[in-house]
Symmetry: C2
Subunit: 144 residues, 2 copies
């Protein structure tokens, strides 16, 4: 759990960078054997691209770096539950593990389609939940 918290704090730092840039504050870090392979945050406004979620950017960076379509050894830490698009992408990559901080009751994949992930992918939730939730609430309070 300490390891999960350590990497989730890096993902939170990415979420805070997104917040400062006026993006929905979600961050992600992709780790293999305790090494950070990719880290990024939501950039949908900056790139004007609705697919530029933190998870998608990390996934594409990681597969490019590793020259492999598959991420079976990797763990993705992300501050918000992935949406179905991201879960579908992570499913294609056969990622080993997904750890997210808080659920997304509106858009989270567990509500829409929990079977999108590869059968061998493990996932859990919880590390840094309150910090992630606070940041998201602050963002949405300010823009409304």
């Amino acid at each position: 759990m300490k390891e999960h918290e350590y990497f989730m704090r890096l993902a939170l730092a990415e979420a805070e960078a997104a917040y400062r840039e006026g993006e929905v504050p979600v961050g992600a870090v992709l780790v293999i054997k305790k090494e950070v392979i990719a880290r990024d945050h939501n950039r949908t406004e900056q790139l004007m691209d609705p697919t530029a979620h933190a998870e998608m950017l990390c996934l594409t960076a990681a597969v490019t770096h590793l020259r492999s379509k598959y991420l079976r050894q990797a763990t993705l830490y992300v501050t918000l539950e992935p949406c179905a698009m991201c879960a579908g992408a992570l499913g294609w990559s056969q990622i080993g593990q997904i750890v997210f901080a808080v659920r997304d009751p509106e858009r989270g994949f567990t509500r829409y389609a929990p079977s999108l992930l590869h059968p061998k992918t493990r996932w859990c939730e919880g590390p840094c939940a309150s910090e992630s939730q606070t940041l998201l609430q602050r963002f949405f309070r300010e823009i409304r």
Copy 2:
């Protein structure tokens, strides 16, 4: 229907290009007001990226070209039913219409999560169904 067939034939030409490159033969064309804005085919092997589906490449090219996150005026023609990742991405873009040639009983979004699309997105299936099916069957017969 003639218009659907016309653009689906362009998508089929993309699928044939994918076939020649050793990719799963799926092609897509994105159209706004009868003008082709983007066209591409599956490039998951070439880019070593499991997210490089024809639909994702067309979507990203179109939003970059249009400088807009939304594709409400657009129709996407694709030779195979989109997977959940692509449907989720198309949902975020609020695309106007999706036309696909044949269903994907294994990975198609209508089986996993039909509610992934935006409520206003219309979709239909059928144009050039037999041509698309024949190309896919030829590909999978040859690699097995």
